[in-house]
Amino acid sequence: MLELDAEHVHNLSKRVKELSGDDVTHCIQCGKCSGGCTVAPDMEEIPSRIMRFIQLNMKERALTSSMVWTCSSCLTCTARCPEGIDIAKVMNVLRMMCLAEGYTPKEKHIHVFNRLFIDMIKKYGRVYELGLMVQNNMMAMTPFRDIGLLPAILKKRKIGLLPHKVKALGEVKELFKKGQTFYKRMKVEGWK
């Protein structure tokens, strides 16, 4: 059962507003975001319900939901919300909060993919698609997924075998070092 108390009921919506600038209390629960959502037909929760979780301070449900993690960031919802809420951005903020607060997302492999992607930028300065695919498959324990596509892709020389590296890699490393990843900085006030 959902228990509400006056002291905490606005906590989550306030935090989301601080981080994204979007006031989810404005959501009128019309469901337009859900009706056009790219991934909602395959999800248990729909975007408008995530907004409701935020309104009612249902933190764990909001932060760990598959919907939040599967969102494709297509911004269709954002384009149509009658209240002007940037729902896609709110989804991103929820993902960051999820990690910062030590929750385990339901779609862990999506997070793993994101990390691999970012690590690759850190290492090479650019993204190297073949490596990304292989590594992701290893991490997801599905080493042979998409393997059927590979020969043709390689034949067309669409994907390089070796990564492109940028010259000023030092600069990139510096960015990663100085600009600490968000969830370490979340506790620091003032940065949006």
């Binding site: 999506i110 930028i121 043709a152 492109h164 600069e171 990139v172 990843t181």
Partner: protein, 288 residues
């Protein structure tokens, strides 16, 4: 005309033909592309999901590199890169907090003033539709084209007329002599970002898009996004229409279509890199 150019990771690897064909048509139109020297990845959606700071820093670094190279106008063909970079550019101009923090970390202050173009804006505002039309040597006559914007392009001035029913791509296709078809999925998301993590969803989305293009009797799909192209092209194999017929709709970059209309050789446009061969179609229409 000279214009700054940020290719981004996709155009450098899996979508090389986008880069090749863009360079080819720019050459034909007397446009010099000045590549941002030693550009880095813009970070795109994964960074937006992990770190707001990083999601600004990577684009910012590229803005810095462009500015230091004297670039005042920047063409970013990949809508995903464009979204990241113009998002940060706008944040620097409107949000003093962001600006201050970014200049603190990088030691460089961006003062604003960089003009960023989507491919479609660039064609409309700098090349102009009239200008493009005048250069056409081989009109794409009889070619029925489904113009696919994808999900992000509608957020740029390119779709300013109507986010939900944009028409610029169709106008360009008409200028090339092609025949845009009315179809339903032009701003729908293709799910490229989920193609590795949730291929089941991507498959559903691709099915809807391909079915819609087929229903509209399109010969091919014109795209302006490397992620849409790879997704629709590479993963089309194995997908079938509700009646069970396998799909084989060529997914062609707008830049390639322009190249053909301007009379470029197909080899110069990277046509051979498309997974679904577009040559038979183009030959059948007498365009090669």
């Amino acid at each position: 005309m000279e214009i700054g150019y940020y290719p981004g990771c996709s155009l450098e690897s899996a979508s090389r033909e986008f880069d090749i064909s863009l360079r080819a048509i720019c050459g034909m139109m007397n446009i010099t592309l000045v590549e941002v020297p030693d550009w880095i990845c813009c970070g795109t959606s994964p960074t937006h999901a992990v770190s707001q700071e990083l999601s600004h820093l990577l684009p910012y670094k590229n803005i810095q590199k462009a500015e230091m190279h004297g670039i005042k106008e920047l063409l970013i063909p990949c809508p995903s890169c464009l979204y990241s970079i113009s998002h940060t550019e706008a944040a620097c101009v409107t949000d003093a907090n962001v600006r201050q923090r970014l200049s603190e970390v990088t030691g460089y202050t961006y003062e604003g003033g960089l003009k960023i173009y989507h491919l479609l804006d660039f064609l409309r505002d700098r090349v102009t539709l009239g200008g493009l039309k005048a250069m056409v040597k081989k009109p794409l006559e009889g070619l029925k084209i489904a113009s696919y914007y994808g999900c992000l392009t509608r957020f740029f001035p390119a779709a300013a007329d109507d986010m939900e029913q944009p028409s610029l791509l169709e106008q360009i296709i008409e200028a090339l002599g092609g025949q845009p078809v009315e179809w339903t999925c032009k701003v729908d998301c293709c799910g490229a970002s989920l193609s590795i993590t949730r291929p089941d969803i991507t498959k559903r989305l691709l099915g809807e898009i391909l079915q819609s293009a087929t229903r509209a009797s399109a010969d091919c799909i014109a795209v302006v996004c490397p992620l849409c192209q790879s997704n629709l092209d590479i993963r089309q194999k194995g997908l079938t229409s509700p009646s069970g017929a396998p799909y084989a709709i060529p997914v062609i970059y707008l830049t390639q279509l322009i190249g053909i209309a301007l009379g470029a050789r197909s080899g110069a446009l990277g046509m051979e890199k498309l997974m679904i061969d577009a040559m038979p179609l183009l030959r059948a229409k007498g365009l090669l």
